[in-house]
């Protein structure tokens, strides 16, 4: 409408940039862009100047120099002679490991706690309320430190653990970590892995078929048992056929520690525990809010159809609640990943501990290390939210 009253182009006035709705948005945007860019330029030029004044340069060459320090818990081969980038990789994998473990266990814990919080069993729902409120309102850092203290003081020392094993000769819980049998791989183990993967694919196909069959005939197969069989039997057959290429490596008593086997160190366990319990409380609240948002008619209708309470929950309420639950859940998973950086408080060597900690300290390359560290976290966060958002799209109500 205003366009019709606008004078011809040749009478363009400077004030139109601000007063005319056609130009104003461009003006604002250009101003915003210029301001932001000049601030960024200023920061960069300051940084360049200051680095020069300190006689420091900006390059990532230090990453290929030997790190010179050792790491307690690692997923890939690493020693003090390895390069700094390798140390960073160990840290990255450690971050991902603890984040993944904590996401899974926090979800399980949170879903149970959230459902139990709504239970009509007074004692149970109160107990869950105490857990949720107690944990949510205390700083995570404090909880990590506290759990670590509990683990190193309550669990037995390696010597005592040898006398009181969880499973004789195989599983030991010590205050330095949990020891479980590790795997020793020899020739041909790839066949077994292949068989396992094939079984997993087979289970998917089978489940799809079983569902179709249920829709057509109404018969329900014992899915769990058959899946388990599908998973184990072929792999076991291949395993023996190839000549048992995978052996267990049991932990045994050493001079100071237990040796051999797979060690899951106390820092990892304490961190995992604290993260799961802390985030579990948040997830419980999310789950509770999601379930409460489903109208009561849904569960009543399910009861009317004759579904038992647990089936009502798993077939009717939860699938609907899931749509409400998933978005806040995504940000919770992101929080877990970011909070795993508190690992340095208990000496778990995650990305912040290696790249942002010891490497930064020993090389004095603050700028490079911090940039790399932040970029890595950013990539992790964006990929998690990307994947989860895609999943969210797929379960979203389709319509309109």
């Amino acid at each position: 409408m205003s366009a019709s009253t606008v004078p011809a182009d040749n009478s363009f006035q400077f004030s139109q940039l601000w007063r005319d709705a056609r130009y104003r948005s461009y003006t604002i945007q250009i101003i915003a862009l210029v301001v932001v860019l000049s601030v960024v330029m200023m920061l960069i030029s300051n940084a360049v100047e200051n680095l020069e004044a300190l006689g420091k340069d900006f390059n990532f060459g230090f990453l290929s120099e030997p790190a010179g320090y050792d790491i307690g818990q690692m997923l890939v081969e690493y020693s003090a002679a390895s390069a700094h980038w390798k140390a960073a990789l160990v840290g990255l994998l450690n971050t991902l490991l603890v984040a993944l473990l904590a996401c899974v266990s926090a979800t399980v814990l949170g879903v149970f706690a959230g459902i139990l919080r709504l239970s009509n069993n007074w004692v149970v729902s109160r107990l869950m309320a105490v857990y949720i409120e107690g944990v949510r309102n205390v700083p995570l850092l404090l909880q990590i430190l506290a759990w670590y203290a509990v683990f190193i003081h309550v669990l037995p020392t390696p010597k005592q653990a040898l006398k009181a094993p969880v499973i004789e000769g195989a599983v030991y819980a010590t205050n330095r970590g949990f020891y479980v049998p590790g795997l020793t791989l020899s020739n041909g183990y790839l066949f077994v892995v292949g068989a396992l993967l094939a079984s997993v694919a087979g289970i998917f196909v089978f489940r799809k078929w079983a569902r179709k069959r249920q829709e057509e005939t109404g018969q329900i197969l014992p899915l769990g048992l058959i899946s388990l069989g599908l998973l184990i039997v072929p792999a076991a057959l291949v395993y023996f056929a190839v000549g048992m290429p995978i052996a267990l490596d049991y932990p045994i008593a050493g001079r100071f520690n237990l040796q051999g086997g797979l060690k899951v160190g106390t820092p990892l366990i304490a961190l995992w525990f604290a993260l799961s319990i802390y985030s579990g409380a948040f997830i419980a609240e999310i789950v509770r809010a999601g379930i409460m948002a489903i109208s009561k008619g849904q569960s009543e209708a399910a009861s009317a159809l004759g579904l038992r309470p647990n089936r009502t929950m798993s077939l009717v309420v939860l699938p609907q609640a899931l749509r409400i639950i998933i978005p806040p859940m995504i940000s919770n998973y992101l929080n877990i990943t970011k909070n795993s950086s508190l690992a340095i408080a208990v000496g778990y060597m995650d990305l912040t501990g290696t790249l942002g900690g010891i490497t930064l300290n020993q090389t004095g390359r603050e700028m490079e290390c911090m940039l790399l560290l932040m970029a890595t976290y950013l990539v992790i966060s964006l990929s998690i939210s990307g994947v989860m958002n895609a999943y969210n799209e797929s379960v979203k109500l389709k319509g309109r």
């Binding site: 300190l54 790491i71 205050n175 100071f256 520690n257 160190g265 000496g347 010891i358 020993q362």
Partner: protein, 340 residues
């Protein structure tokens, strides 16, 4: 939109109040401010800790007080900033503090690459190992396969790795951030061995309930000369820090203590004591201080030996013998250049 104006204005006021533009001379800055800013450890028995009144105390802390007394005439005119192993160098480099007194090892790269000036050695140390007697270990060479608690952000972890590699042994590191955590982990048997500077080991051991159940192994695997440091490029300020430290050592040699320092200044015939305490000569004025700067420092905290005995010595729980840190007149390494 009023809400938005407010924080912006407040932010500006806050910024204006706390902006500080470092000028060329640290000494002038300190005098103008009326306070010395000093970075110390966040908590290490004997070296820096807080007492019940929230005052910082300790060996490293007293050095800062001595400098404040020398420069400003008031030992309490110090602002202490706790620094972690990670943050200490940045704090000093950025001018956030005037001096760093946090048992920092003097190394080539810190001196040259990080561009700091070490003012001398306030404590000669070396990295050692502490183990429980019950393990039956008598030498660090028997530690193959042990779990070792190490403090990160220090030279310790590199020394440790080098040592074990050289001896062809393996170990499992348990990284810890502070001495407190180290002590906690070691006592709970989360590690077999605790390694840090021998002074730190002794300090920790002293506070154990059964100190006799723990032994410090004979191997000292590194040299750790600890001392205060300042930024490169301000020689006057470095001189002040260096000579306050030296004055504390010379006072011990000459038997000057906090109690008798006034008496010595009035009555001593020793020309070096007279120069030191500002009775004769213009030594203090030539570094921009009062001539009696050393007198003020000694009066405030005492001589090197007194400070040592007060916080670390055999009378304290830390229970460290003077050892290498005895004055050279007693067979130690603490040897100050002459004051002339």
């Amino acid at each position: 939109m009023k809400k938005m104006i407010l924080p912006v204005a407040l932010g500006a006021a806050f910024a204006a109040a706390s902006f500080s533009v470092a000028s060329a001379g640290t000494l002038e800055d300190v005098k103008e401010r009326g306070k010395l800013r000093c970075a110390v450890s966040t908590g290490l028995a004997g070296f820096s800790y807080t007492d019940e009144n929230g005052k910082w105390q300790g060996f490293d802390v007293d050095y800062c007080r001595a400098v404040a007394a020398a420069v400003l005439g008031d030992a309490d005119a110090v602002e202490f900033s706790p620094a972690t192993g990670k943050t200490r160098f940045t704090m000093l480099a950025s001018g956030e503090v005037d001096i760093l007194s946090r048992n920092t090892t003097w190394t080539f790269s810190r001196d040259v690459d990080l561009k700091f000036t070490f003012l001398g050695v306030s404590y000669y140390d070396g990295q050692g190992f502490m183990v429980k007697k019950s393990l039956g270990v008598n030498s660090a060479k028997e530690l193959d396969g042990a779990t070792v608690c190490i403090q990160t952000g220090t030279t310790t972890e590199l020394n440790l790795s080098d040592y074990f590699t050289a001896e062809g042994m393996s170990y499992e590191p348990l990284a810890i951030e502070t001495n407190t955590e180290g002590r906690q982990n070691y006592l709970a048997d989360a590690c077999d061995v605790y390694t840090t500077d021998a002074s730190g080991l002794a300090a920790s051991r002293a506070t154990f309930e059964n100190a006799a159940d723990h032994i410090i192994l004979p191997e000292i695997i590194s040299k750790e000369p600890l001392g205060p440091l300042v930024r490169h490029g301000d020689d006057q300020w470095a001189d002040i820090g260096r000579w306050v430290l030296n004055a504390m050592k010379i006072s011990e040699e000459k038997g000057i203590t906090a109690a008798n320092v006034d008496d010595m200044a009035a009555n001593s015939k020793d020309p070096e004591v007279k120069r030191l305490l500002g009775v004769s000569g213009e030594m203090g004025a030539s570094i921009g201080l009062d001539n009696d700067f050393a007198l003020q420092a000694i009066k405030a905290v005492g001589n090197y030996g007194e400070v040592f005995e007060r916080h670390l010595g055999t009378e304290t729980k830390v229970n460290l013998a003077r050892g290498l840190n005895a004055s050279w007149t007693e067979g130690g390494l603490q040897y100050a250049p002459p004051f002339r």
